[in-house]
């Protein structure tokens, strides 16, 4: 009987490839992995929007004709199965021989130039041929020897920075793919996504030996670099570990969370820390050496290491902490810390320096593959709890675990969707949790000591606790006696109560100061928001003058006209300065000090700034004021006026008003000053007319757009009320009830409550 060979339909072969590489990100990663496997030190991706072409180049070893024919062109045959170490000693990452189908996922047409030390070959394929109905052996790719270099290949691209990288790093061998008829719309968002994706896929540790760049037409070299090391990464604890084949696991824990500032020696001494602790706080790692038998509870003390060599780096990085904790535990400042959770968060697994998905994938159920949240839920104790175990939150940990293809007991799943759940994989998880436990214990050890130190040194907290305990006791007694007062009431020394009250007063004062500052900043925000239209308008006009000047020179060769436009642009620039005066000026430091203020001077300056901004729009602001000195925070007075003027101008803009006039009259009163303010705008809307005081409540506004949606913040008038209350004053809006048009308000301000001396 004759032997009949099997054959494969070309389309089926393509389908197998597609099954394995279905996502675009996966396809790009597959190709980048190939470049690493080719011993490249640089891998460049370049998307040229104008030609809708994607280039992928590496300066690796390139492919000979033989490799192309026997490996590259033979589907499922990977040279990496048997020889998985490259000439540079790298462990190759792919082994299934289907990576080239990633090219099919990306584009319809592919051209490849590959240069080895001996040959220069060009290979091209049209993937749509695979749909032709032929069997795989009837599909052909072109393979021709050529004479040009990689630098020549890139000679027509538009990005000069890219050309520089190519000229510098692609002098000898390498491979370049030019992909046309791309299957996806390569928008800037997609490019950014792929870049971020690659950044998480390539661990920072290998950046020295393998650099990846992603260029678009305008990208400079520095911005093209795909990197997680952007210099902003900060952490509280760093945990390094390394497991050796003999079963030894060495863990190094670095404390970087605490900053005792000038009290370092005092806290070490009085906080009960050891001499070793001193070194640990100064950066020396805590080294813990254990065997797997010690780490994995088992009856069998000698647990053999069937996983092999593996290692990892993890970071504990918190994003928030209550003020009290910051003070108690001497946390170093982390206010500038970036939230990495959605990008670089999670504990990720890398095999031979390439990511094994989906472990640690943000925003997925695999983010917390070590089930840290479950541990936390089971043991929710606070960090200083005397007995309970503190557990870290999954979103506070990030890091990389490194395994290799030499870890044969941790095989990839066939669909490349993770690692097969072998006994060893479960062991790996347990070891990681044990390493995390070492860190948790150390952190809890430090915080318990600091908590005890805080309680011992902070009398106020102690006294406050004593008061609370006694109050609780008294309440319980009352309950027991069914509401009757206890025969023996609880007592506490007055001096202790005074200490607590003074402390509370101090905190309230700080909060009041903060509140005041926030009100002023809110006003700045309201003013800026209200005038954003005008500011944008000025920006547009400025741009117009510039483009007109440019065209006058370029197209009309008219220098005089260009100068006219530039002069006009200069005038617009001045109007910006006026804007800054009314917005930013009010938060100047000298205005945040309580002092005897010459109101006439202060308000004349303010109104003059407003006039500069508004007079070309026909708004007239009349100020009537004599020489009045008033003790106040200047920025609070300005904030009130700014809010009122802002409201008036919004009113002028919302309806067609013939006369745009604002009248401000300030007169002295017995205890302070009276401010009478009115405008010729539309006045309060009907909803507020009968009860105008409603407009003083927070979030109340009648600023609405064309279709009636609220656009105002409703904070402006509320800010005025809060300020007036602080000056023991009052607001009268009654004139609005009967007035036919315009807005009217009468504000009286008296001496500031609780002000005895200058402060700020």
């Amino acid at each position: 009987m004759p032997k009949v060979p099997f054959n494969v339909h070309a389309y089926t072969a393509r389908l197998i490839g597609r099954e394995n590489v279905s996502k675009l990100e996966g396809a790009v990663l597959e190709l980048v992995k190939n470049t690493y496997d080719a011993d490249a030190s640089v891998c460049v991706l370049y998307y040229e929007k104008s030609t809708e072409t994607l280039y992928l180049a590496d300066n690796g070893s390139g492919m000979t004709e033989d490799i192309i024919k026997t490996h590259w062109m033979t589907i499922g045959n990977s040279s990496k199965v048997k020889n998985y170490t490259t000439s540079k000693g790298r462990i190759q990452t792919g082994a299934k021989g289907i990576g080239r189908f990633a090219l099919d996922r990306i584009s319809d047409f592919c051209q490849m130039l590959t240069i080895t030390s001996d040959t220069k070959l060009e290979w091209s394929v049209n993937w749509s041929d695979f749909n032709s109905g032929s069997t795989i052996t009837e599909i052909y790719a072109d393979l021709n020897p050529v004479e040009y270099s990689i630098i020549d290949f890139f000679s027509n691209v538009n990005n000069p920075s890219l050309k520089e990288v190519i000229k510098k790093d692609f002098l000898t061998t390498g491979t370049v793919f030019k992909l046309n008829s791309l299957r996806d719309d390569w928008s800037s968002t997609l490019v950014e996504r792929i870049k971020n994706n690659l950044a998480t896929l390539i661990p920072p540790e290998i950046e020295d030996i393998f650099k990846v760049y992603f260029f678009c037409e305008e990208t400079e070299k520095e911005n093209a670099k795909v990197s997680m090391n952007n210099g902003l990464f900060s952490y509280d604890y760093k945990i390094e570990f390394k497991a050796e084949p003999d079963g030894t696991v060495v863990t190094k824990i670095y404390r970087d969370e605490f900053d005792f500032k000038g009290q370092f020696e005092t806290i070490i001494r009085e906080g009960g820390f050891s001499a070793k602790d001193r070194d640990y706080f100064k950066g020396k790692p805590i080294v813990i050496e254990k065997t797997l038998g010690e780490m994995l509870p088992s009856k069998n003390k000698d647990v053999p290491n069937t996983i092999g060599r593996f290692s990892g780096v993890m970071y504990f990085s918190k994003l928030s902490a209550p003020l009290e904790e910051k003070e108690k535990y001497y946390y170093k400042d982390f206010s500038n810390r970036k939230d990495y959770r959605d990008t670089f968060g999670g504990i990720k697994l890398y095999r031979d320096h390439f990511r094994v998905r989906p472990y640690g994938e943000p925003k997925t159920s695999n983010y917390d593959w070590l089930l840290l949240s479950n541990r936390k839920a089971k043991s929710p104790a606070g960090i200083a709890h005397p007995t309970g175990k503190w557990r870290v939150n999954s979103d506070q940990m990030l890091g990389s675990i490194y395994i290799s293809r030499t870890n044969i007991t941790l095989p990839d799943q066939a669909n490349r969707e993770g690692i097969v759940e072998t006994k060893e994989f479960s062991q790996l998880r347990d070891i990681l949790l044990e390493v995390i436990r070492y860190f948790e214990e150390d952190r809890q050890y430090v915080c318990r000591k600091l908590n005890a130190y805080y309680e011992a040194t902070n009398f106020t907290a102690q006294y406050e606790q004593e008061i609370r305990t006694k109050v609780d006791r008294e309440e319980k007694k009352k309950k027991k006696n069914r509401g009757k007062s206890s025969e023996r009431p609880e007592y506490i020394e007055v001096s202790k109560v005074k200490t607590v009250i003074d402390d509370k007063d101090n905190k309230i004062k700080n909060l009041e100061d903060e509140n005041r500052m926030l009100r002023i900043l809110a006003t700045t925000g309201i003013v800026t928001n209200t005038y954003i239209h005008e500011i944008k308008d000025s920006t547009h006009k400025l741009s117009m003058k510039i483009i007109m000047a440019k065209e006058a020179l370029e197209l009309d060769d008219n220098k005089d006209e260009a100068i006219e436009y530039i002069n006009a642009a200069n005038e617009i620039k001045n109007s910006f300065n006026s804007w800054f005066k009314v917005t930013i000026e009010s938060v100047r430091r000298d205005k945040r000090t309580m002092k005897e203020v010459n109101l006439k001077k202060l308000l004349e300056d303010l109104i003059s700034s407003w006039t500069e901004v508004e007079e070309d729009k026909g708004v007239k602001i009349n100020l009537e004021i004599g020489e009045i000195f008033f003790k106040c925070f200047p920025y609070e007075i300005e904030s009130m006026i700014n809010n009122l003027i802002t409201n008036s101008i919004t009113s002028f803009n919302s309806v067609k008003v013939e006369k745009k006039e604002i009248n401000i009259k300030i007169s002295p009163s017995e205890n302070g000053v009276i401010l009478e303010y009115s405008d010729s705008g539309a006045g309060l809307s009907a909803a507020y007319k009968s009860n105008p005081d409603r407009i003083l409540e927070p979030f109340e506004t009648d600023k609405r757009n064309e279709i009636g949606e609220q656009i105002g913040t409703g904070m402006g008038m509320w800010i005025i009320v809060k300020t007036v209350n602080e000056y023991n004053g009052s607001i009268d809006l009654s004139q609005n009830i009967n007035s036919k048009s315009g807005f009217h308000i009468r504000i009286s301000l008296n001496g500031k409550i609780g002000v005895e001396q200058e402060g700020g």
Partner: protein, 207 residues
């Protein structure tokens, strides 16, 4: 050159816009001396405008926003392309009176290169669409005129006929006669009068 109208409450930059757009084949005209929506419509017809650019915030000069102008013009002159040009495209889009694709950031007028060229192409293309639609109106008008002459026109068709006539007359495509004269009853009366006149002439001739 295509003829484009511009509704804004600020005339300051108009000269510059006009100059830039003229280089791209667009003849820009400022809508002046109008206060109501109806007046704007009349101005558009009088000036045979082929596309209308409208600013969003018009309150310094008008009692309404630009989106309302577009909605009104779209209602009365459905084929006339109207584009909102504003510093706040989001505000215009939020009004939900104009399709987002027809709302442009005003900065496009101060932009350079491809962005500016693309905008001009959009405007020019929309005027071409308008001209082609005008031709369709003319074809339909001719059809209906035939029916009308043979007294086969229905009441509904007559409405459509008059609508086409008004638009075509505005754009100089048909002769300017009083709309009243085109109504069927007036037409019938005139035909009957002419018939009588013919008979009278015949009688006179025989005598």
């Amino acid at each position: 050159m295509c003829k484009v109208g511009f509704v804004d409450d600020d005339f300051n930059e108009f000269g510059n816009y006009k100059k830039r757009l003229a280089r791209k084949g667009i003849d820009l005209h400022f809508v002046d001396n109008c206060t109501s929506l109806m007046e704007i419509e009349d101005w558009v017809l009088k000036n045979t405008i082929e596309c209308l650019l409208v600013d969003h915030k018009l309150t310094a000069k008008y009692a309404f926003y630009g989106t309302k102008v577009v909605a009104y013009i779209n209602n009365h002159l459905p084929d006339l392309p109207c584009i909102i040009l504003t510093n706040f495209p989001e505000d215009s889009a939020d009004d939900r009176l104009v399709i987002r694709n027809l709302i442009f950031d005003r900065n496009v007028l101060s932009s350079d290169g491809e962005k500016f060229s693309n905008f001009c192409e959009t405007v020019i293309q929309s005027t071409e669409v308008f001209r082609n639609r005008l031709k369709l109106h003319l074809d339909e008008y001719t059809d209906l005129l035939g029916k009308k002459t043979t007294h086969k026109i229905t009441a509904e068709e007559e409405e459509v006929f008059l609508h086409h006539y008004r638009i075509l007359r505005s754009y100089g495509e048909v002769d300017d006669v009083a709309t009243e004269l085109l109504k069927s009853d007036v037409n019938r009366k005139m035909d009957s009068l002419l018939e009588k006149l013919d008979r009278y002439i015949d009688i006179n001739n025989k005598q």
